[in-house]
């Protein structure tokens, strides 16, 4: 067996080193050893629910396990959130196919996306990043609400979503997944984890995604989904040495998507011809993680994380073009020292540099939006975090990060605090709060603005530093009911985010104009309340029920404090799973009820609110030795948004970005997963 002792040591080391509040800490364990959920695994269960709330994390963390990722034919990570009530996933517009998530009632750009502790899907990658992360590459996703550890930087405002990949040390030399959908979309994934010797291992990951035909189920002349071709490749390495661990990796994405009306050609387009979008994205990334123990008992250690990303977006929307390049470099140096069983602290230094090279030319009915320029964004800081543990009963974490954001924005201090109290085994209480700061990418954060004929005005080319405070708490009661009381609980959350500075994208101030402005000094806020219930009433049958209520207000010029538009007030999700003996057959059913949103005033919807609508999903999986075969269906009721296109292309009121529901109806999928395990 591949170096088991070393893997165990690495796991233990990783846990000792990074068992703190958030992913920034926990994830860095990836530098040193095995997976971050090892802590849960150590308490064993032979089975694990698809989605569950972690008992051990200091933050409120929902885990989507491998089983959860397989509940649907998740071609990419965006689709894996369909099961989760913490995260809402929708479309940015009816043209590009860009997926957008919402956490705590706010856009996904306020959620820090992490790839095993490294911030990813930033800037130009944010609109399509979720579709660049194949679900089959992942072994779990953790969704943390609230202000996470300062160790990962302070870009997270509403929370963090961390994605754990298949590991080089996985004993799976071959994995293949093929999925076909009734809308002619096919996707394929391949993964190979190879242990070359007892020190060196690697994992190679490949993904391809393509649809062969487009559909227009709502008969509005626009394709429901763009024609997409995507290739995605990654290679990760681990070198283990008793005195250090080194992880390096590279990844590349090539993505081409044509949306809008069939027949659009960016090279020959003239007014009156079929209008559409033609977007090409290329991305290359490389990273390095080095971990060095400073003491034999591994109570002190130093780690270095370095990351570089280059991306290129070449987009045309009708007559408009947006050509943009982004280079990003990130470095984080972390020193952790465990003083004794009660006290430990972490000190670190981090730096980030982003260079945007943008070229925009956008003629619309009311004028021309034109911009060309290079913007350099800096974020350099020092941080420290102190943790007090009182066995498993109480944890208090206090941290602060002092960052310099360049000459214009100066120095900002971001404090963060987390408290976790477990008075007895069946009750976990958490409190959490802190400040988050991020630089906006006005156009790619709001990619839907391209799918309109409206004139842009204001700060659409300014990377405003957005600043917010988030605080809240969670109480989870474990219930002595069902076949598996460890996974039977009822949980309540409350979180509030209050912006001190936010880039507002206002569709409503002036007719046929989208205004970008700074909300500084206005009282925009979001409150979210959520209740989760999970139980296994009898063996192998699990029930997860979640209800969420969102009270989101935004201060808009001319209107004052109003309900944030296009933000569902509530959502409910019911997930049922039944497995036959030895899990040879698995039946999954998910029902989601999506609440209404305040519609934009130009949408002219009766009552000013979008309707409540259901989404139903079902999947049957048959497991054989090394092979899973599944058949599933999405949107069983066939509900889809009508009138998603407002106005006609090139007109001043044209808008294809007011999307609140699914653009397509029922879809059926079938697929196969083949896994060959290493044998001896």
């Amino acid at each position: 067996m591949f170096c088991k002792t070393r893997i165990i040591l690495a796991c233990a080391f990783a846990l000792l080193l990074f068992n703190g509040t958030g992913f920034a800490q926990a994830d860095t364990s990836g530098i040193y050893g095995e997976r971050k959920d090892s802590l849960d695994a150590a308490v064993y269960t032979g089975k694990r629910a698809g989605n569950y709330l972690s008992k051990t994390k200091d933050l409120r963390v929902e885990v989507i396990s491998t089983e959860g990722l397989q509940k649907m034919a998740c071609c990419n990570v965006a689709e894996s959130f369909e099961n989760s009530a913490s995260v809402t996933v929708g479309y940015s517009d009816a043209v590009t196919g860009a997926r957008q998530i919402k956490l705590l009632g706010l856009s996904g750009v306020y959620t820090q996306m992490l790839d095993e502790s490294r911030p990813v899907m930033r800037g130009l990658a944010s609109p399509f990043g979720l579709t660049y992360m194949p679900g089959q590459w992942l072994e779990s996703i953790q969704i943390a609400k609230g202000a996470a550890s300062v160790v990962g930087g302070v870009e997270s405002i509403t929370g963090q979503i961390n994605m754990e990949h298949r590991k080089p040390t996985d004993e799976k030399p071959f994995f293949l997944s093929l999925t076909g959908m009734s809308d002619t979309r096919v996707s394929g994934d391949i993964a190979s984890s190879l242990q070359l010797n007892d020190k060196l291992s690697t994992v190679i990951l490949g993904h391809v995604d393509k649809n062969f035909k487009s559909f227009d189920m709502n008969a509005d002349g626009f394709m429901d989904d763009p024609m997409v071709q995507q290739f995605n490749l990654a290679n990760r390495w681990l070198y283990y040495h008793p005195h250090f661990q080194l992880r390096v990796g590279v990844n590349a994405v090539w993505d081409k998507r044509n949306g809008g009306m069939p027949g659009y050609d960016r090279n020959t387009y003239q007014s009156g011809q079929p209008w559409g979008s033609d977007i090409g994205n290329r991305l290359f990334g490389a990273y390095l993680k080095l971990g060095i123990p400073l003491r034999e008992d591994q109570s002190s250690s130093i780690a270095l994380v370095a990351d570089y990303t280059w991306q290129d977006m070449d987009a045309a929307y009708g007559r408009a073009t947006y050509l943009a390049k982004q280079q990003s470099a990130f470095m984080n140096l972390i020193w952790r020292n465990k003083v004794n069983e009660y006290h430990d602290f972490t000190i670190g230094a981090m730096g980030r540099w982003d260079r945007y090279d943008e070229n925009l030319y956008r003629p619309v009915a009311l004028g021309i939006d034109d911009y060309s320029g290079i913007t350099d964004l800096l974020d350099m800081g020092l941080y420290g975090e102190y943790t007090f543990h009182l066995e498993e009963k109480f944890t208090a974490i206090a941290g602060a990060s002092v960052n310099w954001y360049g000459k214009a924005d100066g120095v900002r201090v971001s404090p963060r605090v987390t408290l976790k109290y477990r008075p007895w085994d069946a009750l976990v209480l958490r409190l959490n709060g802190g400040r988050g700061i991020r630089a906006a990418a006005p156009l790619t954060d709001n990619i839907g603005v391209f799918s309109t004929g409206k004139l842009w005005e204001g700060a659409f080319n300014h990377h405003l530093l957005e600043d917010a405070w988030t605080w809240g708490g969670n109480a989870t009661f474990y219930l002595p009911i069902g076949a598996d009381p460890d996974n039977a609980y009822i949980s309540f959350d409350y979180f509030r985010t209050q912006f001190t500075q936010q880039l507002i994208v206002d569709y409503e101030h002036t007719l046929n104009v989208i205004e970008f402005y700074n909300s500084s000094g206005t009282p925009s806020y979001t409150n979210t309340f959520q209740a989760d219930f999970a139980v296994e009433p009898f063996e192998r049958f699990t029930i997860n029920l979640t209800a969420r209520y969102t009270d989101a207000k935004v201060y808009l010029e001319g209107q004052g404090l109003v309900e944030r538009p296009m933000t569902p007030r509530f959502k409910g999700v019911l997930n049922l799973q039944y497995k036959t003996h030895l899990s040879k057959w698995i039946f999954d059913f998910t029902a989601a009820l999506n609440g209404s949103c305040r519609a934009y005033n130009f949408m002219n919807i009766e009552g000013g609110r979008t309707p409540v609508y259901p989404m139903l999903y079902a999947q049957i999986t048959r497991r054989f030795k090394g092979i899973d075969v599944y058949l599933g269906a999405e949107n069983l009721t066939g509900f889809h948004q009508k009138d998603v296109i407002i106005g006609i292309p090139e007109s001043a009121n044209f808008d294809a970005s007011a999307v609140w529901g699914p653009p397509m109806g029922l879809r059926v999928n079938a697929g196969i997963r083949v896994t060959i395990w290493k044998t001896y």
Partner: protein, 109 residues
């Protein structure tokens, strides 16, 4: 909205009430099976050490000929297999675990 909240509360209550109390269902099930199908149970002390080991065993051992039930305790490193003795035996099951890369020492009950 009120109706939806009431419906959710009712659904929660109904589920809570119908949820069975925590009983050692596994043992009861195995005993029933033992009587009904004349199956046997064997427990191995193994070298499993992480969640991935559990997954590897869960993905492979159920598909060994004659295996009727499987329980794994990561804390105790124990793998308990219920099997049909007319189709397999302890030696074959131990070999199946060893083939996956784990030691397998039979525990006397």
């Amino acid at each position: 909205m009120k109706k939806i909240i009431v419906a959710l509360i009712l659904a929660l209550s109904a589920i809570s009430l119908t949820a069975a109390p925590a009983v050692p269902a596994n043992n009861a099930t195995v005993q029933k099976q033992d009587k009904k199908k004349k199956v046997q149970t064997v427990t191995f002390k193994t070298s499993i050490h992480c969640k991935n080991c559990v997954k590897k065993i869960n993905d492979n051992i159920p598909f060994e000929k004659g295996v009727k039930d499987l329980k794994i305790s990561l804390d105790e490193k124990l793998v308990t297999i219920t099997y049909d003795p007319s189709k397999t035996d302890e030696e074959k099951l131990a070999k199946a675990l060893e083939k996956l890369g784990y030691t397998a020492v039979k525990q006397e009950s």
